[in-house]
Amino acid sequence: MLKTLGLEYHYRDGKKIIFPEIEVGKGERLLIRGFSGCGKTTLLSLIAGALKLQNGDIKFDGNEYSKMSSLLLDKFRADHIGYIFQTLNLIPFLSVSENIALGIKFSKSRKSKVNDFNQEIVRLVSSLGLGKEVLKTPVNRLSVGQQQRVAVARALLGKPDLILADEPTSALDSGTTKKFLNEVMETFDSTRQAIIMVSHDTSIAPYFDSVIDFNSNNV
């Protein structure tokens, strides 16, 4: 489904990163492991189509990023990709359900896959181990674990083909991480979406189909 070809990125400060080749099939789970500053976030931004390609290309279901305008890539991301940040995933002045709704706000095709919005978010939220009352809680009163689950619900809403997760567990303690991943992966199993997660945490490898170590390629 997704394949990168010879991706490189030159930063303004002169640093250059050569990324490992990545290939992800439908419903496949890939973990990219590496330390902070190794370019993991840059790689995810490139795959998301939010950052302009410099060298190399990305193919996603036959679409070549290098041939798409940035506006088209934004639309492509809205339709096909769900994104989860390390922290601060939620907009404080929106309610939990408004935050989740952002997942389909910019995509007609994802919107059309959601028949009953309210029913769907209740289903997602409860499958991620959150109670219904969370939907009525102000965002800033949620725990970090709850916030990350809401972010997962947003990424999954409207069933995009690929989820990109940038160290979603780094702010959680190891017990919570385990519980979080169990619930998230279970939800993923039933929806059969591909996921690319980057993390420096080696303990979470068992949850993934494949693992790429990404430390030695810095130039």
């Binding site: 939010a50 302009k52 639309k75 910019f106």
Partner: protein
């Protein structure tokens, strides 16, 4: 986008509303100045109509008009009745109404004139004076009231009144030896006529019979009025005279020959020309105010852009989240532009409401102070143009933060 925008702005309500208020206040200032100026001009210009020329002692023409029409200021000099009688004989004149000013009744100016005043003096767009109650005076002991005078002092036909020497009630000596009886009350005109008390010139002369150079020499109580010879009450001087010509084409010849009148230094003033002189003076001050206000508006717009730029740093996470969910840099930039549009529109709507209230009270104040009542209006085409200009300038200046957002998000990783 709008619901997101409004919620985002609401989360920054204090700075946003302060900037909106400052923009609103500067627009209120601009429009109030403009409206009061227009209103005053309109009110002044409508205060006299149907009068081709005003004859008075030679002085500044503006002074003469302000004094005779608006009852503002003091008379400089008088003009002799002999001269008036001479001018009356000219065959280019259709009518002539002499007036004498100087006295007052409880703060309202007294206009001593002849009964034909009510036939010839017009106001607004050539509207004739009409009586709400009663008729014009015909005896020297009778008086006619402007509508405000009757209303404020609760007078009606049959009421009696005494006149104070001079224009200020507390300073003048009362002509308490003679009373006038009200025979008529005029309808409201929205001009200084509403604030005036009209007497017969002969009655006015009678009041001053016992006076020599501004001092009372004897009281009317001490003499027998019935034996007074008729010509003793013929006024020797008047303040000015309103003139209607048979043909307006002769106006300039007429005023030239009045200026060259050999026996007395007099001049003929054309009210419209004198008033436009006034507006050219007032207009200059007005332009200064207007310029200042535009500067204030510019400052408010700069403050708005500064606010938007300053808020961008705090909104970084918000923008990145939109972006990760598929928003294009164009969407984010548009949101910034719309924010300035919302601030501008709210400020404009607020300004219209405030200006309407201000104009309403200012109109009342103008009426009280000058006796003129400009027409009340909601919003003019000219004002819509000004608002659109400000809105356009606001949107234009918001292109700066919009471009900043666009460029930043085009080259930024999602984190």
């Amino acid at each position: 986008m709008f619901s997101l925008l409004i919620k985002s702005m609401r989360s920054r309500i204090i700075p946003t509303s302060l900037v909106t208020i400052s923009l609103m206040a500067s627009m209120v200032l601009l429009l109030s100045i403009e409206r009061i100026q227009q209103g005053t001009e309109e009110g002044f210009n409508q205060s006299i109509s149907g009068v081709d020329a005003i004859i008075g002692p030679r002085s500044s023409s503006l002074e003469l008009v302000l004094y005779t029409v608006f009852h503002l200021g003091r008379p400089t000099n008088n003009i002799t009745t002999k001269t008036i009688d001479d001018i009356k004989l000219r065959n280019d004149i259709s009518w002539l109404v002499p007036i004498a000013l100087g006295d007052s009744h409880r703060g309202f100016r007294v206009v001593a004139t002849e009964p034909n005043y009510f036939d010839h003096i017009k106001y607004g767009k050539n509207q004739a004076l009409t009586f709400l109650k009663g008729v014009a005076f015909s005896e020297l002991s009778e008086a006619v009231l402007g509508s405000n005078v009757a209303e404020k002092l609760n007078y009606s036909v049959g009421s009696g009144l005494q006149i104070t020497h001079g224009s200020v009630e507390s300073l003048g000596i009362k002509h308490d030896d003679f009373s006038f009886k009200v025979t008529g009350v005029l309808n409201k005109t929205g001009t200084p006529i509403d604030q005036a008390v009209f007497l017969d010139l002969k009655g006015y002369e009678l009041l001053h019979l016992g006076w020599k150079s501004g001092k009372k020499v004897f009281s009317l109580d001490d003499i027998d009025l019935s034996v007074l010879p008729d010509d003793a009450l013929q006024p020797k001087t008047v303040t000015a005279a309103f003139i209607g010509l048979k043909s307006k084409l002769t106006l300039f010849n007429f005023s030239k020959s009045i200026r060259e009148y050999p026996k007395e230094a007099i001049s003929a003033v054309i009210p419209g020309i004198a008033l436009s002189e006034l507006w050219s003076i007032v207009g200059l001050v007005d332009k200064g105010f207007e310029l200042l206000t535009w500067i204030i508006i510019a400052i408010s717009l700069i403050a708005m852009v500064t606010l938007i730029i300053a808020s961008l740093d705090n909104r970084n996470q918000e923008m990145t989240i939109y972006r990760a969910n598929g928003a294009s840099p164009k969407f984010l930039a548009t949101m910034v532009i719309y924010e300035s549009l919302v601030i501008g529109l709210v400020a404009i709507i607020g300004a219209i409401i405030l200006v309407t209230i201000v104009t309403y009270f200012a109109t009342n104040q103008l009426n009280l102070a000058l006796g003129i009542s400009p027409s009340f209006k909601w919003i003019s085409l000219e004002e819509i143009k000004v608002f659109s200009l400000i809105l356009f300038a606001g949107v234009l200046s918001s292109l700066i933060p919009a471009a900043m957002v666009f460029r930043k998000n085009l080259h930024q990783t999602l984190s």
